[in-house]
Amino acid sequence: MSSAARKRLVTALLLAPAAVWLFLFLVLPFAAIVVFSLGERAPAGGYAPALTLAQYANLPARATAFWNTLVLAPAGALACLLIAYPVAYYLALKVLPQRRLLLVALIVIPFWTSLLIRTYAWMYILGARGIPAFLELVGLPEMRFINTPGAVLLGIVYGYLPLMILPIYISLERLDRRLLEASADLGATPFSTFFSVTLRLSLPGMMTGFSLVLILLLGEYLIPTLLGGGKVFFIGNALVDLFLQSRNWPFGSAIAVALVAITVVLLLAANRLTARLSGARQVDLL
């Protein structure tokens, strides 16, 4: 065997497991969804073969769900970002190195428990026998927190904050401290240094965190269901209903394809933006 042929064989063998995996569990299911999306709903629900774009034409029927998702997911990700940044900044630049590991561990520990259980706990904390009961005990009037948009936002921030903190922390931790000194040396106030240097150079981390949280929120249905009382309807909720309640597979598939398309477009845009703002050679989104 020639060495070139051997090299090709070795490359093929090394990549084969991943390629097979991706083909079986990403390409094939996605192809199936595309095929379903071109079909029709069978009379009793499910899929009936057809070749029609009717499902895509019907997408505006879920316009509200798309709108909710496209407004609330970025808003939730932004809220996470605003809260996560100071935490990450503190961890990376202000904490004594010997204490840093402990604090980072504290941020990761909640991940050891299922998001469902943690979110369910919030149902009790925000429910009538939780915070409102304590407030009543101290003489405040009856208040309701659960099943409000605020509760959904809180759940989102609580659930996804670590995913936002960690990438920002890593990018800030890798930040060359001498760049901050150089900035100060050149006459920049700490405020100016933060916006001209620190913020700009942590942009890739912010973008990674933002994209991660955004992707998860675009498909979110658990938190709005549990903490929003099923009144806040995300695309994820629409999908669950279409597949599990009305069993309209083709329409559900069309929405899934549309969601994938939206996600890809959003990520490409985010990638482009980050590359331009941070001037880095490459930006690793995930």
Partner: protein, 387 residues
């Protein structure tokens, strides 16, 4: 202030453990769906640890060592399954669902793995039509006595003369109201929706279930619970969209919110109403005088059931009146079986929640098969939820 420190606690230690166990019992991926959300299944392997003690009647191995059933939340006496496992050595995995649509979706998708499930009356003809369930072989169900059944509730178990399902219990769909919070008397769906938009604003719940939520909105105008007429559905949608901003939640898992005091008013099924009233007397169960739903839940065996012998054995066990009576005491729904009624304690038989007066029962309608598959009702529900 008479409030104790404990009253202010979010939940008691016992409740917390109960909740935790409720999640612990399942496989991780499925429990994300379940119970809590009413969207999926909490799966429980009961009695897996009880060991193999087959009764002489069952040759060892004949029934296999495990089976899986799909049913509703808070619907069984857990002891029933423990007893069965002790008797036969078959461990039972319990999957809990929030709607008939969801059960149908799982069976349609295939590979559900269930050997027995609990569909509601109006769905059985569709299952049969889609060839998803087996006709029942009564020879394997000696404990079932057709003569003891109330025909009003059992009719839909037969499809075109073929017996496909036997009844578990019947019930009604009304609403539960916390009379300490909402003191004005309520007796109709009109009052339900009106109160939800006024004194009960922010404290009222409707089901995450097209049949009852749309059906009861139709009853507000006096239309049929099962209506498929576009103009009537349009009126119901108008009402639902009007009430939505006032709702506390759209969810079929309403017991926790009613118990905690978050919600004061909710659409409610008999058995939940009975359980709530038993524990919190100020929560009343009310049937709308315009009518509404009456229903029967059945046992049926899926065509692709992996363990049919065990399914028949468990079903026969459940048909034993001595077993069934414990089930009814536990879940609070009335029985269709005269033999069971004879064994039920008197206070249960006298409970108007379980056995409402005849004039209230008269206008109730069984759900119609067509509502299950009607795309317009499904879309109406989606528009309501996403509005």
């Amino acid at each position: 202030m008479s409030k104790s420190y404990r009253d202010g606690l979010p939940l008691s230690a016992r409740e917390f453990i109960d909740q935790l166990l409720r999640f612990r019992r399942g496989s991780i991926s499925r429990r994300h769906f379940l119970g809590v959300t009413g969207l999926g299944a909490a799966t429980a392997v009961l009695a897996g640890e009880f060991g193999l003690k087959p009764m002489p009647a069952f040759a060892a191995g004949e029934l296999g060592d495990r089976m899986s059933i799909a049913t509703w939340p808070n619907y069984h006496d857990p002891q029933t399954f423990v007893d069965f496992t002790t008797k036969t050595g078959v461990a039972i995995e319990v999957n809990v669902f929030g709607s008939n649509e969801e059960m149908l979706a799982k069976l349609q998708a295939g590979g559900s793995g269930w050997s027995l499930f609990v569909p509601t009356n109006y769905t059985i003809s569709t299952y049969r039509q889609l060839d998803l369930i087996d006709p029942l072989d009564l020879a394997k169900l000696p404990n079932y006595d057709a003569a003891a059944q109330n025909k009003r509730f059992t009719a839909e178990g037969e499809v075109a003369g073929v017996l496909c399902a036997v009844p578990k219990n019947w019930g009604t769909t009304g609403f539960a109201v916390n009379t300490k919070k909402l003191t004005a008397p309520m007796d109709s769906w009109k009052s339900f929706f009106d109160v939800a938009m006024t004194t009960g604003s922010g404290r009222s719940m409707v089901h995450d279930y097209q049949l009852t939520t749309i059906g009861n909105a139709l009853k507000y105008y006096g239309y049929s619970f099962n209506s498929l007429k576009p103009d009537e559905l349009a009126k119901a949608e108008e009402l639902l969209l009007k009430v939505k901003p006032h709702l506390f939640a759209i969810s079929s898992d309403y017991q926790p919110a009613m118990r905690s005091g978050d919600a004061w008013l909710t659409m409610c099924w008999t058995n939940d109403g009975a359980q709530l009233h038993r524990d919190i007397p100020e929560i009343n169960y009310v049937l709308g005088k315009e009518g509404g739903e009456i229903w029967t839940d059945f046992y049926a065996i899926p065509k692709d059931a992996p363990n049919k012998p065990a399914a028949y054995a468990l079903l026969n066990h459940l048909m034993d009146p001595k077993v069934a009576v414990k089930e009814h005491i536990a879940n609070g729904a009335p029985s269709t079986d005269a033999r069971v009624n004879a064994l039920l304690p008197k206070d249960l038989l006298d409970n108007p929640i379980l056995y409402p007066a005849a004039d209230l029962l008269a206008p109730l309608e069984f759900g119609a098969a067509a509502t299950l598959t009607d795309p317009n009702r499904a879309e109406l529900m989606a528009r309501f939820k996403s509005a």
